[in-house]
Symmetry: C2
Subunit: 441 residues, 2 copies
């Protein structure tokens, strides 16, 4: 039958769930369209390393169309889904015609939430996109530069105080990496202060770090963080954030660099589906990951709230991958006129790294911390990285960083690329030519 | 004697000239301050590879303070020089107190010039900073994405037409790389068109490409560019540039991606020195590279116009390095109460690469083109790259690109990092944690 007569499967989101769903649809006799507003799939678990100058953006990102280039039934569309008309089976995009679908997979994930204090986002950026990571990197490196030219001790101390709000995996990993930058990477680079004077504060509202982890690992993680020089404060709620610092209860902490790693809200697209949502705006799906009353619509990943035998499926990459693949498997069955099957989650465990030789890991019944957990973290993340180039370069960077304490990506870029007057003082980085040549700094 | 009583040497610009001057001042019994508005030294000759997704920004950039960390008499200052008071021996910065100097080296280079048509810069960015390179990369990759969703052949052709204005080394290298992206890198990635349909036009006002090179090499270069699929047009002056294309004489070329690689103007700081300037705003210095009437002020690099035995010293990296080192040598002599010596330029030749196995090179009397020139280009550039990590990774990227035609840095980033609403549709790139974790896409 004619190409255009094939059933149309639309996937929204090129994260773990969407990407693995697209791959699982390889045998489908269908036209598959994957829509993402970014051209790249991001290996999000390593994003904090871009924010802390350990890795470059391209080390953890790959063009989605490159990953799927050899799958002829998939078309990749760079566009943003603005609305979903489940009754009319159409996805409204930011540009071009609406996409009419026979089957839809929504995997647009979640973003962080400021719990109604969105004005904080200016002063305390979150870490969800590569742009976020580059902005955090810019602020962190710039803070040390400003400390070098500070005219008073108070000013310098404010520049050397880094506050990470939220001690989930991302917050804990960020805090550990920031401490390593201050104590090792930059230690000989400045003339007017010792970078190891920097204070890294990790603030957590709950009574322990890494709340999703078993209490004994939370304790181990806090010990390791403190050994790395991080000031861990549990049970401390931030009540105010501005350009000069944060307010915690009745204590004022002067700090120019604050990172937000607390709270998560589902992607707004969840609200278009007409299904029941939980407190965090996540969609309550049926056991087969489809939408109640809409068996042709599947929702997966951080966008859903799903309990199996009363146990919630956690918001981790392996769950997203399994959900994406299972939804794809149900779409394949539907294409063959077969009924869908319920999703079963296989807990592969979870791990968080905190610094050199410091990590915690839950692998089934096994609870690891320290060196062994750190090694398994390295191996797992290298293994799951997409693309030979990235595995190779990341392994090289990590080996080098381990041996030299150096971080490659210590680049402060202007907030807005293409800044028209970004030449004077930027040095005579010479080109190879004469008059005909514009390539001058 | 006391640290603060040592003579103060101020270097403006951390490009090739400023950086090599700082290194040459290692033995100086003086306080040396290097000022740059960027935190990084840029290996400018490879910037076009960042603009064409072959290399990542960090592969060709290094933090200046990291390069100079082991030189205790040097202090690196991240600031922008706004004005120079040669009479008062002070440099006015964008922030903080003016810098009072005993000796000054001005090496703030040049930027490209739109010959009085600055409004063109919006439509035809130049290539001088990393931000420029990332912006050009963004436009090039986005043009192919837009071509995929184009609704008419005219629209698609406009997105697939790339115009490079100026056939100096940078322009020629950009055009060659763009052609390779279209014909090889992207060839299987799109479903609605064949990327090799893309047109790459290289426009040059002069009567041949690579005007600074010997005519026979210009001819060889043009042959190689045309073999790579570039449409070379010499003697064609651009009279208008807007969002839809360019006007050349009475021909209108519809194109959404235009790059400016023509024309250069010296850094505005040159005007603060009260010395005679040439047409391009470059400072006329004395044979010892100092300022007439100001033996304590040296000016080097793209900022100067210098003739030796009637032959102008070209605007190439080796000249910048030699000038920087010679000015430093004269400062060392002055510190010892010795007279300065005139600068002598050693022509190491120049080379430009055009694509795989395509390049031209002038090495002394030797004129090379094709494979041999390309090989020597590779070796020279790997050798002069600063830092083991960058040499290693760049060599790896080049080998890989040569074998697979792939380019690693195919990342489209938002124009302004930290874009507040950059979540929906960006996929559920999952993190490793639960509620406490913001690291969601």
């Amino acid at each position: 039958m004619n190409e255009s007569e094939l059933p149309h499967v639309v996937l929204l989101g090129g994260g773990f769930a969407g990407l693995y769903a697209a791959r699982a649809l390889k045998p489908a006799r269908a036209r598959v369209t994957l829509v993402d507003r970014r051209n790249h799939h991001l290996f999000q678990p390593l994003l904090y390393q871009v924010a802390t100058a350990g890795l470059s953006a391209i080390d953890i990102a790959q063009p989605i169309r490159k990953i799927l280039r050899k799958q002829p039934n998939v078309e990749v569309l760079l566009a943003e889904a603005k609305d979903i008309d489940v009754a009319g089976r159409r996805v409204i995009l930011d540009r071009g015609e609406p996409l009419v679908y026979d089957y839809l997979l929504v995997a647009t994930g979640a973003t962080h939430s400021y719990f109604g204090n969105d004005q904080w986002s200016r002063y305390a950026p979150g870490l969800k996109t590569i742009e976020d990571a580059l902005e955090i990197r810019r602020r962190v490196l710039l803070a040390f530069e400003r400390a070098e030219t500070a005219t008073s001790d108070e000013e310098r101390q404010a520049y050397l105080t880094f506050v990470v709000i939220g001690a989930g995996p991302t917050g804990a990993e960020l805090a550990g990496a920031l401490s390593e930058i201050a104590r090792h990477t930059l230690v000989r680079d400045f003339r007017h202060f010792n970078p190891s004077e920097a204070r890294i504060l990790l603030l957590e509202g709950a009574d322990r770090v890494l709340p999703p982890y078993p209490p004994e690992l939370s304790a181990k993680a806090q010990q390791q963080l403190e050994k790395l020089g991080v000031e861990v404060r549990t049970g401390s709620k931030v009540t105010q954030i501005d350009g000069d610092g944060v307010q915690v209860g009745d204590e004022r902490i002067a700090a120019h660099t604050v990172v937000w790693a607390a709270g998560v809200a589902a992607s707004p697209l969840g609200r278009c589906l007409g299904a029941e949502l939980d407190r965090a705006g996540r969609v309550l799906v049926r056991p087969d990951l489809s939408l109640p009353d809409h068996p042709e619509v599947f929702v997966v990943g951080d966008l859903i709230s799903l309990k199996i035998d009363g146990k919630p499926v956690p918001g981790v990459a392996p769950a997203a991958i399994q959900e994406g693949e299972h939804a794809a498997h149900n779409i394949l069955r539907a294409l063959d006129g077969k009924p869908s099957t319920p999703f079963e989650y296989q807990d592969k465990g979870s791990m968080a790294t905190l610094g050199r030789r410091s990590a915690v890991a839950v692998l089934g019944k096994l609870k690891l911390s320290g060196y062994l957990a750190w090694l398994s973290w390295l191996l797992v993340h290298i293994f799951f990285l997409i693309g030979f180039r990235n595995r190779f370069v990341v392994l090289f960077e990590w080996t080098r960083a381990y041996l030299t304490y150096q971080r490659s990506a210590r680049l402060i870029l202007q907030e807005s690329p293409g800044d028209p007057d970004s030449d004077s003082g930027s040095g005579d980085e010479k080109a190879k030519g004469g008059e005909g040549d514009s390539s001058k700094a």
